[in-house]
């Protein structure tokens, strides 16, 4: 039997939701009939609006999908202006203030405290400037991710940016692909660094060479030229304690045929995904059930009208991103562009930037680069097109003291999801906690010599929005009792990462009270430094130890770190409010 969500989607979904959304916005939040709220809140997701958790009734998170994380000149300023004007609510964050933008692990932007009545004006401003919230949430094509510096990266095999743009134009607002059984996450990467993180996506296109009778590209050992295109993987994802790496379906596709193959696989998922059980709906479970061979065979027989090529020669051995290898493990710092200019990756701690800083960064991008800014999957920002002779002055800008191109490893490696501040699913507070963790670790812990990157990802629950399973240290929200009282806690996983041989973190220590986590990480790093083989990476160190040995290294310990959010933050209407009890929650915003 179809789920309630499927029934609601079958009645109204996709593009047609917009008119009703605007009607409700015009008439006011209270105009949504009580017995239709569940349905409409579900449908609004397709337009990037997600009702915030209880205690925050009538306020929405708004997600802007920026394909491949590309913000063209002027667009970041628009985001900053909208955040400043509209993303203010009754709660003020003690670290980030009253209006901010969150850069996400899927190269999108999230704003909070959005009122329904403001949505038409926000959409008008976004769309007038080439931005959109369409399909940023909901059961359809989500924001397409990839190497954020596609088209500019000196390490590029094939320029994926035109492909991503074409996919975005083809599948956003496309009624044939608007209502899928579940979300559909696509990665397209043309760089040899692996920064598209294809392995953790529903559908991944990764750079590969193929001898197909000539064409541009690499040169084989026998001297013949290969065409450049993409190998295809399907069925990756991290959520629900069921992480999967995308499976190789033995297909190579030239750039011009990517939309046909992507559309074929999206249609295959649309027609065969599980619409009766949302927990089993993602395509990773279909690939589990069918196997990659049957996925390929069905794609060939039923969804494309040309002969599929077998997989080409990939470049996965060159992958460095999120591998812990010590090479280009992220995109922070100054890097060469193909055109002789530079892109400069700036660290945005836990991906959150105050609205004023967003506007200032937009000005700096104009002054020192082309005005363009790009977003990485590590929640950081990249200013592109900076000439050599402007680098020193750019680095001297005061704003870069806070968003550094050469940050502390603990600042650089921190990723955190939204957490109980706004999210219904999260079990613990995250963003501010990860900021406190990073600051404490920076002040108190030294990494062994030669280790200048250390990734710590904090996710509030098993949805894994902070991608915890692919970090050096993975932290996942949990609960425990301390001195008999319930407290927020974290499970600790170690040694995850991507690359040629990707692997998920092993959860070695469970339910560490949150205030003992910094001490546990300090002990772990101390053990790593003491027992490390020469210049061994942390990931390699973890790989040669069993879980019991690692658990012994993760020794929880109280330190001078203080955690003000140990209590059940979900029982508050807003964790940082002075009067935070649920009964003190503000009413839904009054209609203008």
């Amino acid at each position: 039997m179809p789920t309630d969500v499927e029934n609601w989607k079958s009645e109204v979904y996709g593009n047609e939701v917009r008119d009703r959304l605007f009607e409700f916005a015009e008439a006011g939040f209270d105009s949504i009939p009580d017995d239709e709220r569940d349905a409409w809140f579900e449908r609004f997701k397709w337009w990037g609006l997600y009702h915030q958790r209880n205690g925050q009734e009538g306020y929405f998170m708004l997600r802007i999908g920026t394909p491949n994380g590309v913000l063209e000149p002027g667009q970041l300023r628009v985001v900053g202006e909208i955040a400043d004007e509209y993303a203010r609510g009754p709660g003020t964050n003690p670290i980030f203030g009253g209006a901010y933008a969150d850069f996400t692990t899927r190269q999108s932007i999230q704003l909070h405290w959005i009122e329904l009545s403001d949505v038409p004006a926000i959409f008008e401003k976004l769309e007038a400037n080439g931005l959109s919230t369409q399909q940023a949430c909901g059961d359809s094509w989500r924001n397409i991710v990839g190497n954020p510096v596609a088209g500019k990266d000196g390490q590029e095999v094939v320029d994926a940016w035109p492909v991503i743009r074409e996919l975005n134009e083809t599948f956003k607002g496309n009624d044939d692909h608007a209502n899928l059984p579940r979300k559909w996450k696509v990665s397209v990467t043309g760089s040899a660094d692996g920064s598209g993180q294809g392995d953790i996506n529903d559908l991944a296109f990764e750079p590969a060479y193929k001898a197909v009778g000539g064409g541009e590209g690499g040169v084989d050992n026998d001297g013949s030229e290969d065409a450049v295109g993409f190998n295809v993987r399907v069925g990756g994802g991290l959520s629900r304690n069921e992480p999967r790496l995308a499976r190789d379906i033995d297909v190579w596709v030239p750039p011009e045929k990517v939309p046909a193959v992507a559309g074929g696989l999206s249609a295959l998922f649309r027609d065969n995904g599980d619409r009766e059980d949302r927990y089993n709906a993602r395509i990773k479970f279909l690939v589990d059930e069918w196997g990659p061979e049957a996925v390929r065979e069905t794609l060939q027989d039923e969804y494309v009208d040309f002969e599929l090529e077998t997989a080409g020669r990939d470049v996965r051995e060159e992958y460095t991103y999120n591998t812990g290898s010590g090479e280009r493990n992220d995109l922070i710092g100054v890097h060469d562009q193909k055109d002789g200019r530079n892109f400069v990756g700036l660290n945005v701690l836990v991906g959150r930037m105050g609205a004023g800083d967003v506007l200032e960064l937009a000005d700096l991008a104009d002054e020192y680069g082309s005005g363009e800014v790009r977003l990485s999957q590590r929640q950081n920002v990249i200013v592109t097109d900076v000439p050599d002779d402007a680098l020193d002055a750019f680095r001297d800008e005061p704003l870069l003291e806070h968003y550094s191109p050469s940050p502390s490893p603990f600042m650089r490696g921190s990723v955190a999801c939204t957490g109980t501040e706004f999210c219904s699913l999260s079990i613990v507070e995250t963003k501010n906690r990860q900021v406190r963790f990073a600051r404490w670790l920076k002040a108190n812990v030294d990494l062994p010599g030669g280790v200048d990157e250390f990734h710590i990802h904090l996710s509030g629950c098993t949805a894994s929005c902070a991608q915890p399973q692919i970090a050096d240290v993975s932290l996942r929200g949990m609960k425990t009792r301390k001195d008999g009282d319930p407290v927020e806690a974290l499970d600790v996983g170690l040694g995850g990462g991507l690359g040629d041989e990707p692997g998920f973190a092993r959860w070695v220590t469970q339910r560490v009270p949150a205030d003992e986590v910094p001490g546990a990480i300090a002990n772990l790093i101390e053990g790593f430094a003491a027992e490390r083989d020469e210049d061994e990476s942390f990931r390699a160190f973890v790989a040669r130890h069993d879980d019991e040995e690692l658990d012994a290294l993760v020794e929880p310990k109280e330190t001078d770190y203080e955690d003000p959010m140990l209590h059940n933050t979900k029982r508050t209407w807003y964790p940082y409010a002075e009067n935070d009890a649920m009964e003190d929650a503000p009413p839904a915003p009054a209609d203008d």
Binding site: D4, D34, D35, E36, R37, D38, F41, E42, R53, N54, R240, N241, R278, Y279, T420, S424, L425, S426, I427, V428, C461, T462, A463, G477, M478, K479, T480, R481, P486, A489, Q510, R511, N568, K570
Partner: protein, 105 residues
């Protein structure tokens, strides 16, 4: 009177008559649960898998973990609240709950 029961937002909520009534992230104590062998399961409620009703008792199947022994998985049907006179009252979060046998959802 019909009561509308739903699990929403990827299992974050139990909605009762279009109102978000029961949330994840609580610790529930379960007597004689089928999740683990502990005398009293101390369950972190991570995710609601299904919601149903048995008479006036609203029940849910919950994905979670016992923090006493570390066992995780999906429970049987656990009472989460009761409907009286058309209104829903959540069971005291600190109460010990005894799983029920079945529900017709």
């Amino acid at each position: 009177m019909t009561t509308r029961l739903r699990v929403l937002d990827d299992g974050a909520w139990i909605s009762v008559d279009d109102d978000r009534k029961v949330r994840v992230s609580e610790l529930w104590r379960l007597d004689a649960s089928d999740l683990c062998d502990c005398a009293l399961t101390d369950l972190v409620v991570e995710n609601f898998q299904a919601v149903g009703v048995d008479g006036s008792t609203v029940e849910a199947r919950v994905y979670g973990q016992c923090i006493a022994c570390g066992e995780d998985g999906t429970t049987g049907w656990i009472p989460v609240g009761r409907v009286h006179g058309g209104s829903f009252a959540e069971i005291d979060r600190d109460a010990v709950r005894r799983p029920t046998d079945c529900s017709d959802g």
